[in-house]
């Protein structure tokens, strides 16, 4: 059974049309199974998944990476990767007749409301295209790449209206301006004339949402639309999606990994684990009294925003110290005044043995610049840095190399922080060998560290691609510890990991810190993680520390307006 497009043309007779009861679901999916290619770690990406979405309702599909949640979304719009195949699955999509618009209405509203019975396994690309245009809207994860960088925003939006409606040019423009106003973009006429690079990430995502909802689709699919955004932007986008979808009566399928986001936006929740539907039910039931063990585990792994009881204040020696630290970039431009950017201003820190200090902030707040200065991957333009009491602010490269056993770093992305052509062992012993540790001792340190990070010793002979993301982060930690540093800087070290893995890595960091008396500088955008791990936190905005203090104080009674905004925007508070 096929669909001939949303009620278009002579072949529109083929879909089975049925009278629809009021309140019936806009989309019902039954027994959707998608096969993975032979040789994958499991036979099906998604196995016998069924759900319904009613008009104005939001269903969240939650799962960790590899759960098949994105594959599920892509299968509904015919954008599956070539080697994946829908083996079974029926979907019934109720395409509503669009409301007539004053300027002449859409091109395809001949006929009445109809229900299309789709066999997802046999739908052709041409049929999917018609569906994508007017039956289903889609919002991608990455707002930076979802828009064509060489086309003006207005032209990209207009393309949709040209392809799917018969509106006149002035009517198209009116529709676009109205839509941009509805996604609350400032100065819509000016927005239309801009290229995507002149918009912020949040503005771009608003444009993408405007495009997805422009043709008033019956169904909106959003694949992690806020994952690449800062928390404050995320909060705005979430409320926008919810409000627009309710207002237009659009059914929304929302893909996310974040339980906090689920609690903000979902009406119903579908929990996927390894392609299998673990649980499907109303939001409050799933979040408050989950039936599946897997859901319970996921919920338990989400760190709480309430900090635990404070530890005794660290009294050991100061291991890492900085004062008045600043980083100014000067961009010399030909025949024009040089452009200055102040990435970091007046940053001060004293990190003691056994202490954990958190730096929290959104993208562009200067927290990573601060970290890179502190470990002297960057040379600051102002201020001073001392490792173990020794000044290294402007130390020569050779002197720095000899001092590098003091401070080590763990990066965000475990897929890229290990040299893919080196065995794990070679990566781990590298630092020790560079610092003059004899080969035998370096390898015995590596073996001991593998025990500490709970990986088998045989892993030393394997290559990074043979490990999972969490295991690679353990390797990166082992590599940093192999030089016996006194300070460990973790730059978003758990941000790229699934929550369950994140919980394990955080526990490991805490344990290693206790045993090795490490001073830990923990840089994160995630307030929940900071709340659980840090003794003190510093909140950064636009290159400056706007608030700092003991974790309980900053989280309990934030003084600065920005800290308050950050805490208010954290999804799923309470």
């Amino acid at each position: 059974m096929t669909v001939g497009g949303a009620g278009s043309g002579p072949d529109a007779a083929s879909p089975r049309q049925a009278a629809r009861a009021p309140g019936a679901p806009v989309l019902s999916v039954r027994d959707l199974t998608i096969a993975l290619p032979a040789g994958a770690d499991r036979p099906h990406a998604v196995e016998r998944v069924s759900f319904d979405i009613a008009a104005g309702e939001t269903v969240c599909v939650v799962g960790e990476s590899g759960s098949g949640k994105s594959v599920l979304a892509y299968s509904l719009i015919g954008l599956l990767p070539k080697d994946l195949r829908v083996t079974s699955g029926a979907a019934r999509l109720a395409v509503r007749r669009p409301e007539p618009s004053p300027a002449g209405g859409l091109a395809q509203p001949r006929g009445r409301d109809l229900d299309l019975d789709l066999d997802l396994a046999t739908l052709s690309q041409r049929e999917f295209r018609t569906l994508r245009g007017s039956g289903i809207g889609f919002v991608f994860q990455e707002p930076m790449t979802a828009l064509n960088p060489v086309m003006r925003v207005g032209d990209q939006i207009e393309e949709l209206l040209r392809a799917h409606t018969r509106l006149s040019a002035p009517a198209r423009r009116a529709r676009m301006l109205e839509m941009l106003a509805r996604v609350r973009l400032p100065d819509p006429p000016a927005m239309l004339a801009r290229h995507p690079h002149r918009l912020s990430g949040g503005q771009r995502q608003r444009i993408v949402i405007a495009m997805a909802l422009l043709l008033r689709p019956a169904l909106l699919i959003a694949d992690e639309p806020t994952t690449a955004l800062d928390v404050t932007t995320q909060a705005e986008i979430l409320s926008l999606v919810r409000e627009l979808a309710r207002g237009q009566g659009t059914a929304t399928l929302f893909i996310t990994h974040d339980m906090g986001v689920v609690s903000e936006i979902a009406d119903r929740v579908l929990v996927l684990n390894q392609g299998v539907q673990e649980e499907y039910g109303a939001r409050d039931q799933v979040l408050r009294s989950p039936r599946a063990d897997y859901t319970r585990m996921l919920l338990a792994a989400v760190p709480s925003l309430a900090p635990p009881a404070p530890r005794a204040a660290a009294a050991g020696p100061v291991r890492l110290e900085a004062g008045g630290l600043g980083m100014r970039y000067i961009e010399r431009r030909w025949l024009r005044a040089a452009k200055q950017t102040l990435a970091l201003h007046d940053f001060a820190l004293a990190l003691r043995e056994g202490e954990t200090v958190g730096i929290v902030g959104e993208s562009g707040s200067g927290k990573t610049t601060a970290a890179r200065c502190l470990i002297r991957l960057l040379e600051p333009t102002a201020g001073a840095i001392a490792w173990d009491g020794a000044d290294v602010t402007h130390a020569s490269r050779a002197r720095l190399r000899r001092a590098r056993d003091a401070v080590q770093i763990v990066f965000q992305d475990p897929n890229r922080s290990l040299n893919p052509r080196w065995t794990a062992g070679r990566s781990i012993v590298e630092g020790a060998l560079n610092l003059g540790v004899p080969r035998d001792e370096a390898w015995s340190r590596a073996r001991e560290l593998m025990r500490r990070v709970r990986l088998p010793e045989a892993s030393l002979a394997r290559y990074p691609h043979q490990f999972s993301g969490g295991q690679r982060q353990r390797l990166a930690i082992a590599r940093a510890l192999a030089v016996r540093p006194r300070v460990l800087v973790a730059d978003e070290a758990v941000s790229a990991l699934d929550v369950s893995v994140q919980a394990q890595i955080l526990a490991l960091l805490r344990e290693l810190q206790e045993e090795l008396k490490l001073a830990l500088l923990f840089i994160t955008h995630d307030l929940r993680v900071a709340a659980q791990l840090c003794d003190r936190v510093m909140v950064m905005q636009a290159g400056q520390v706007v608030e700092e203090g003991p974790t309980a104080q900053v989280f309990g009674s934030p003084r600065h307006a920005y800290t308050q905004a950050l805490l208010a925007a954290a999804p799923g508070r309470g």
Binding site: R404, D413, N419, A476, A480
Partner: protein
């Protein structure tokens, strides 16, 4: 080494790469075994049997003074030389030039590229020199170099390699600049690795795949340029059997005996095609960007 092994296995299952490799191996084998493939001295001529049609059987006067009835698969040229022998021995020159140019241009190009990408003060001056070199057409530069150095195999190889170097320097430099931003390079800096170790042990191995692909394209272009030089009469001396020389000599009789140009031309085209197909196959399998585009790599 499972990661690397699987890449080679995937390359081996790529149709184009397999065809290219097979043709190249066959050519290389023929070039190595040239003396035992029913050939005679490629410069020897029997003036009584000129312009014999391909596939004829004639009583041919051999270099040792005897007369032997020989089958001449490709016939003889205007001097009475055996075209089969000249084409097979010509393969030696073409393949040697292709391989040697790739090795020479790549070693020098990678060295300069690493220097430009890794040493800040060298970057500007070095790249401007490369830009200057690139502004001169490759064939003209090669002709000038051969003219200045007198033509023999070594000078021809150098003359063809020099214009190829800037492209490899640019590629290597851009790879260095790109890989330098990888977190594992930052990690290496934090782990007190010396600058030259970062370039050689961290960056270079990860740049290997695109450089290997570039090497095949360089080899293909070197084989062509050698033939062009010979054809123009500025390459190896006319008596040396190279595909370009054989074609150049056949050109005057093209109307009556087109096979004298077409046969070496076909060998040249087939070899260049094979090298390019091998390069495309390696690119498809070694470069993850292309591997993703074709689904699971090559099928």
């Amino acid at each position: 080494m499972t990661g690397h092994a699987s890449v080679w296995r995937r390359a081996a299952s790529h149709g184009g790469a397999r065809f290219g490799l097979a043709v190249l191996l066959l050519m290389a084998l023929a070039a190595l075994a040239a003396p035992w493939l029913g050939t005679i001295d490629p410069t020897w001529f029997d003036p009584t049997h000129t312009n014999v049609a391909p596939g004829s059987r004639v009583d041919y006067a051999m270099p040792d003074g005897s007369t032997v009835q020989r089958w001449l698969p490709f016939g003889t040229d205007g001097f009475g030389r055996d075209v089969w022998s000249r084409v097979v021995f010509g393969a030696r020159v073409s393949l040697a030039v292709g391989a040697a140019v790739a090795v020479v241009a790549l070693s020098i190009g990678i060295l300069l590229g690493l220097a430009a990408g890794g040493v800040r003060w060298l970057d500007g001056p070095l790249m401007r020199v490369m830009d200057g070199l690139m502004a001169i057409p490759a064939v003209l530069l090669a002709i000038a170099l051969v003219a200045a150095l007198r033509a023999n195999l070594l000078t021809v190889i150098v003359a063809i390699a020099v214009p190829e170097i800037p492209r490899i320097v640019r590629l290597t430099r851009s790879l260095v600049l790109q890989l330098r931003e990888e977190p594992y390079v930052d990690a290496a800096v934090a782990l007190a690795a010396a600058p030259h170790r970062i370039l050689l042990a961290h960056i270079l191995p990860n740049a290997a795949a695109p450089l290997i692909v570039q090497a095949t394209y360089t080899a293909a272009s070197a084989i062509l340029i050698e033939a062009i030089l010979s054809f123009l009469g500025v390459g190896l001396p006319a008596e040396v059997p190279t595909w370009g020389n054989v074609m150049a000599e056949g050109r005057v009789q093209f109307n009556d005996h087109p096979q004298l140009v077409l046969i070496p031309g076909a060998f040249l085209a087939l070899t260049v095609l094979a090298v390019n197909l091998l390069g495309d196959g390696l690119r498809d399998t070694l470069d993850p960007k292309f591997a993703r585009r074709t689904g699971t790599g090559a099928r």
